[in-house]
Symmetry: C2
Subunit: 310 residues, 2 copies
């Protein structure tokens, strides 16, 4: 008789999920620095450096660095124009897959959230430069009236026509931050736009911390050096979110036990947009649904913020 393989603890299964999303620290260390005005603001992978090297009037590419030439501009607006010209040419050339997702949305390139914006680029091109990117993620939950402990979460089901992660589970509301946005305002805006949440209810959105990770994007061209500001929204028991734009196909009110089950299953079979699974793990940790008596608890705690959090 052989013993059946033991099922990993909840903490170990969650750790696998977080690690899978935070798997490119070594790639980021080895990547070329992206330097603008003397400041290191990003990390550029091989294929992206090759593409940028085709525009030597704007980018100097060496073994260690991709540097925006001083001639390309002395301030953010001049640099933005010079780089936009390169990105338009690369897009027209059709050889950079991530530029197919062009959105006409501005992304601020900066070394950290409160650092000065060195230039802005089209959001679809941000990954070329491997700069920190910021998002806001709102977890909506219903709590037991007497204990305040979450009993259910409202999860979104992504539209089957979304270009990224179609049909997978998402937060109540989430999104990347555009140039100039602040976290709390962005969270409230996403809640209104994606889940039809009233200004009154949105005023109850509360910051809860955040998670950071460095991952490799699906194309292999880009590092995702992401900082996700997390928020909790306790929803009234009779609240029902409303699909207010085309981002989400439906909302489901899951018992917390079912959320736990799905996050565990996600370790083997993708259920969630991957960074959303990480946000739910952080939520479950904060609200007492992972026991510190489980082996893996401390590694999980550390892994949620092991990446640079700039």
């Amino acid at each position: 008789m052989h013993a059946l393989p033991a099922s990993p603890s909840k903490a170990r299964a969650f750790l696998d999920v977080v690690r899978a999303n935070n798997n490119a620290a070594a790639a980021a260390d080895a990547a070329r620095r992206f330097v603008v005005g003397g400041a290191v603001v990003g990390r550029v992978l091989e294929q992206s450096a090759d593409a940028l090297s085709r525009h030597p009037e704007v980018f100097s590419v060496t073994d260690d660095a991709v540097t925006l030439r001083a001639e390309a501009g002395a301030n953010a607006s001049e640099r933005t124009v010079a780089v936009a010209r390169v990105l338009d040419a690369l897009r027209a050339g059709g050889s950079v897959p991530m530029l197919d997702g062009w959105r006409d949305e501005r992304f601020a390139i900066r070394a950290s959230f409160f650092a000065p914006t060195e230039l802005t680029v089209e959001r679809a091109a941000a990954g070329l430069f491997g700069c920190p990117a910021y998002g806001v993620f709102v977890v909506g939950y219903v709590a037991d009236e007497s204990t305040g402990v979450p009993s259910h979460v409202w999860v979104g089901r992504r539209s089957p026509t979304k270009p990224t992660w179609p049909g997978l589970l998402d937060c109540l509301a989430a999104g990347g931050m555009a140039a100039g946005e602040m976290p709390l305002e962005a969270a409230r805006k996403e809640a209104a736009e994606e889940a039809g949440i009233s200004a009154d209810l949105a005023s109850n959105i509360r910051p809860s911390g955040g998670v950071c990770y460095t991952g490799l994007d699906e194309t292999g061209w880009a590092l995702k050096r992401d900082v996700l500001y997390t928020f909790d929204l306790r929803c009234p028991s009779d609240f029902v979110p409303r699909c207010a734009d085309g981002e989400v196909a439906s909302f489901e009110r899951l018992p917390v036990d079912e959320l736990v089950r799905l996050v565990r299953r996600h370790a083997d079979e993708v259920q969630f947009k991957p960074n959303v699974a990480v946000v739910y793990i952080d939520f479950l940790m904060r609200h007492g649904f992972v026991s510190p008596d489980e082996d893996g608890y401390l590694e999980l705690l550390a892994e949620l913020r092991r990446a640079e959090c700039l």
Copy 2:
């Protein structure tokens, strides 16, 4: 006219508090490794290494390492006996200040929480070896009935006769973990012993994550490589804790705004046992009392877990 110096943001003030408690990463890197049975289980500072080097039959001390000699024992119980003999001699000699705090409580020396115990030592001597030490910290709060948002916290005032940090503010219940204890059981035990909390109420204690830091102890002999398991306990509005042992002189029910004010003041003038201030900052972050729109928010988030979390 000169502008008045701007008051630092709440996040920046909190960051100062967390950093002051997490200030010995470089000292830990530079310290001698403590090696038992081939495993690195601790970090030994200069004065402690000198003291241990006076017992070369048990400890081999080089520039890089303090190694428990193989002759001292092949298993935990033999090693425990051999090291106890050294500690008794050092205590009798009177030259090691931390041994004045002898408590007759066993401390497990291990590389991480679930790693095998290599030996046990008297708790007062644990700092000599710089092994990870584990504690449980319970934050007791009262919440607004309708929103679930904390309105008050129950803080303890340490007895003026405690040998460490007399008269300062503490959690509702907290303590170091003895050899063999598990976190949840330890949190419930401390809640009963220190705050007279019933088994019924203690069953509502919920894990909330943890904070890690590497600090220098007051004597300069020891590194504190601490992992604090944190817990939240939502208390009924009519609950009043009871001083059940001599650890705490009194309990105070502070409005959360007052807690915030005291933690900010702590940056300049000590109000709390220092690691308790860090636990309250983590609590305030998780419950939405620090805005992500404040400069310093992400650094604060990272700093709470920057240390090894083993």
